[in-house]
């Protein structure tokens, strides 16, 4: 707050109003001062939120600030605001914010709106799947730009599923979102209207089912489009609104392939009563580019139990287990080596290893670090001790992080953790290089690319050598010397999964 001399520590750029406000509240509750930049079409909910938070002294003045203006000019530095400590770009306009601002703090990433992909296999409860799909089609995530829902059904159940979808879509009520008896609200402002895409689909020969509805305005009736192919424009171009596209597939494998080929998927769901088929399909949608976090059996909930990678009667490993692997020797001089390897942005091998193998590699690295003598630099020995401890700790975590079963109302949810993929890390000088922060990412199966200033890269390379000697695949950890300015942008151009 300005009068006490505090500085804002978050800047949030928001293009999609529904995504912006939850993020604001997260920043506010953590004690930050929040400055929200948004274009005029996304402004109304945020301005209303700002107005409400001023009423009754709910928030002190200056804590929540909303500035509207044209994107991306709004994101130029030199806005006259104090330098923010962190920036979040939300939506496609947010990219300009994150990379164009003078923010020196962390970029917290941005949420992607997108489609919901539902895969219905032939052992699915068709009524349940139809009810869930139609329920999801009318709710806000599907109404975002680039929203909508794509249903991939196995050929044997395509016709019964289509009949049920039509029956349920006909029963949805469109109207005022504040009225609790309506199911579907209006289109988001400034979103591309779906009518154009639906017309194009009709011209391509697709069958379009829409309950009768007066045209025009911000309300659009729920629509079911069948008889299209992945090349059709209604799948390749963004369309907001309650538009469902139904595609036939021949097998679960083909469903995964088609789903991976669709641009901008935000969530996926698999419906099948055959547990093994369902989980197998969910697992297969791991390769890049993938729909994140498929839910099995329902939207928003995983409903299957399976054994973890290890039979439950085996004991979990001890933290300081005996070392059964040969100690590698690290007698080579540790000069920082410039590595000109191309950015390894497909690292499936490390992520696909089971947790036990990853743990073994980390333990081997700990042993290797313990075995070196005469490391350069006095305080490196302390660092090594801490690193060893961290390696052993994260090795134990790697074995147990496969998943968890949580009880929820109505049953149990199986949550499996999968690695993000390729994570880029940029360190800026003069902050000390804290290598322990790399270990969680590695332990959970991510491939990491580290950009460090040359003087600090030595320690990172030391760690890398230990890991590679213990069995880390070549592409899993890359250390590149470089400054922090501009490295982030260069890494981002290669589309890593985390930064």
């Amino acid at each position: 707050p300005g009068d006490k001399g505090g500085t804002p520590v978050s800047v949030w750029g928001s293009r999609d109003p529904c995504w912006g406000s939850p993020r604001c509240s997260g920043g506010l509750s953590a004690g930050n001062t929040v400055l929200v930049l948004c274009p005029p079409e996304a402004a109304p909910p945020l301005l209303y939120l700002a107005e409400l938070s001023g009423e009754g002294g709910a928030l002190p003045p200056g804590v929540l600030n909303v500035v509207t203006g044209p994107f991306p000019e709004l994101c130029r530095p030199g806005l006259g605001v104090p330098v923010p400590g962190a920036a979040v770009g939300v939506g496609p306009g947010g990219g300009a914010l994150a990379w164009g601002s003078p923010c020196r703090g962390p970029r917290l990433g941005w949420a992607r709106g997108g489609r919901v992909v539902v895969i219905v296999l032939d052992s699915a409860d068709l009524d349940g799947a139809a009810a869930a799909v139609v329920g999801a089609a009318g709710t806000p995530p599907a109404l975002f730009p680039w929203g909508g829902c794509v249903v991939l059904a196995q050929e044997g159940v395509l016709a019964p599923l289509e009949r049920r979808l039509r029956a349920r879509l006909g029963g949805l009520r469109v109207g005022d979102p504040l009225d609790p008896s309506t199911d579907v609200g209006p289109l988001p402002p400034a979103a591309p209207h779906p009518e154009g895409l639906v017309e194009a689909a009709r011209e391509e020969g697709a069958e379009v089912f829409q309950p009768p509805f007066p045209p025009g305005g911000y309300l659009y009736p729920p629509t079911l489009i069948t008889g299209v192919a992945p090349t059709s424009c209604c799948l390749r171009e963004p369309a907001a609104g309650p538009v469902l596209v139904l595609l036939p597939v021949r097998s679960p494998g083909e469903a995964v392939a088609v789903a991976s080929g669709l641009p901008l998927t935000a969530a996926a769901a698999v419906w099948a009563q055959d547990i093994t088929a369902a989980l197998d399909t969910a697992e297969r949608s791991v390769g890049p580019p993938r729909p994140p976090a498929p839910w099995v059996g329902a939207s928003q909930q995983l409903q299957a139990l399976r054994e973890f990678g290890r039979p439950p009667w085996e004991q979990p490993p001890k933290l300081e287990g005996p070392l059964r692997y040969p100690l590698p020797s690290l007698n080579a001089p540790l000069a920082p080596q410039t590595q000109q390897c191309p950015l390894p942005l497909s690292g499936p091998l490390w992520g696909q290893l089971p947790g036990a193998s990853r743990a073994q590699v980390l333990r081997g690295a700990a042993a290797a670090l313990g075995g070196t003598r005469g490391t350069p630099g006095g305080d490196d020995r302390d660092n090594d001790g801490r690193l060893q401890g961290a390696l052993l700790r994260w090795a134990a975590h790697a074995e147990r992080m496969g998943g968890a079963v949580q009880e929820v109302p109505g049953g149990r949810t199986l949550v499996t953790r999968r690695p993000l993929g390729v994570v880029g890390v940029v360190w800026s000088w003069p902050h000390p290089l804290s290598l322990e922060l790399l270990l969680p990412a590695l332990a959970l199966g991510n491939s990491v690319v580290v950009v460090a200033p040359p003087s600090a890269a030595g320690a990172a390379l030391h760690l890398r050598q230990a890991l590679v000697a213990a069995g880390l695949p070549a592409g899993a950890l890359a250390v590149l010397p470089g400054g922090s300015r501009g490295s982030g942008a260069k890494l981002a151009r290669h589309h890593p999964d985390g930064l």
Binding site: D125, L126, G128
Partner: protein, 308 residues
């Protein structure tokens, strides 16, 4: 058509979740609530199935069936001349004659429904079941609620179940047959779906969730599964089969929720006494209380509403 039930998959958690959401639907208020309540009244099968039924309480029930809602309340809603009566009166076979006579004396055309075929357990030989049905029809019952043998469902003898229901259908003759599936004892929702399909294929006019005497009677998940079976049967054959939840429905709010569920799953055409009934006894009292409240603004005292 055994093929229709060979590949039945029911995702139980999804159905239960759907049922939970239904309970959260906004409640109706005002005139709309009164209208739906009157619709529910016309769909009630006023039931008395106790060991201590005698001609006197059956007669009282039949008079209540003719005048379910107090006359002046109906006049206040301008519905006194629409012939609002309950859908049917449901009694044991031994009491059918009393019910028929009482309704004739009252000058009322409501059908008398009789439970039969070894109600409530169904664990009697097929010959006695047939005899019971034939006698009930002879006594004047125009609707028969038969009970299936749950053991046939639990052991997967679908042809045997089909045969049994077909025989009961023949014994009913021209009477309207409701098949009670006793879903609380069938073990799984998939079994409920399959038993519903078999009952419909064998010629039932209605399928009914439960006898009212089981531990678990009519719940929303079971109702949803049975209604989906009815819809599928309608898509396959074009025949509309009715649905009757029975047992455990005691409040007006539940009755309205059942009506809303029928409208959502089956459609508006099923919201008539020909295709939907509510098996209930104390429900009528609660509905009358709610209508009293709507008309006068306060809840009634015990003596202000006639006892059923």
């Amino acid at each position: 058509e055994l093929g229709w039930i060979s590949k039945v998959y029911v995702n139980r958690p999804a159905v239960v979740r759907h049922a939970e959401q239904i309970k959260k639907w906004k409640t109706l208020k005002g005139n709309w609530q009164a209208a739906w309540l009157l619709k529910a009244v016309t769909c009630i099968d006023l039931t008395t199935l106790s060991g201590d039924d005698t001609p006197s309480n059956v007669q009282r029930l039949c008079f209540k069936a003719k005048h379910p809602i107090r006359e002046d309340l109906l006049k206040a809603l301008d519905m006194h001349d629409k012939g609002i009566t309950v859908g049917a009166v449901c009694v044991y076979p031994a009491r059918v004659t009393d019910a028929v006579n009482a309704l004739k004396a009252a000058g009322c055309n409501i059908p008398v429904a009789s439970v039969a075929a070894g109600f409530p357990s169904g664990q009697t030989p097929l010959e006695t079941k047939m005899a019971e049905i034939k006698l009930a029809v002879e006594y004047g019952a125009r609707e028969i609620d038969i009970v299936i043998s749950r053991s046939l469902v639990l052991t997967g003898q679908w042809e045997g179940l089909y045969e049994e229901i077909c025989q009961c259908r023949k014994a009913c003759g021209g009477a309207h047959m409701k098949t009670i599936l006793a879903t609380g004892e069938l073990g799984s929702l998939a079994n409920v779906y399959k038993a519903s399909m078999i009952a419909m294929m064998a010629g039932s006019d209605f399928i009914k969730t439960s006898t009212g005497k089981e531990v678990e009677n009519a719940t929303f998940p079971v109702g949803i599964v049975m209604m989906r079976a009815i819809k599928e049967y309608y898509w396959q054959t074009g025949n509309k089969v009715g649905f009757k939840p029975a047992g455990g429905i005691r409040t007006a709010k539940e009755a309205i929720t059942w009506l809303m569920l029928v409208k959502e799953e089956l459609g508006v055409e099923w919201l008539t006494p020909e295709l939907f009934r509510l098996g209930a006894s104390s429900l009528l009292g609660d509905i009358e209380q709610q209508i009293f409240y709507h008309v006068t603004g306060s809840y009634p005292l015990q003596h202000e509403l006639a006892m059923a």
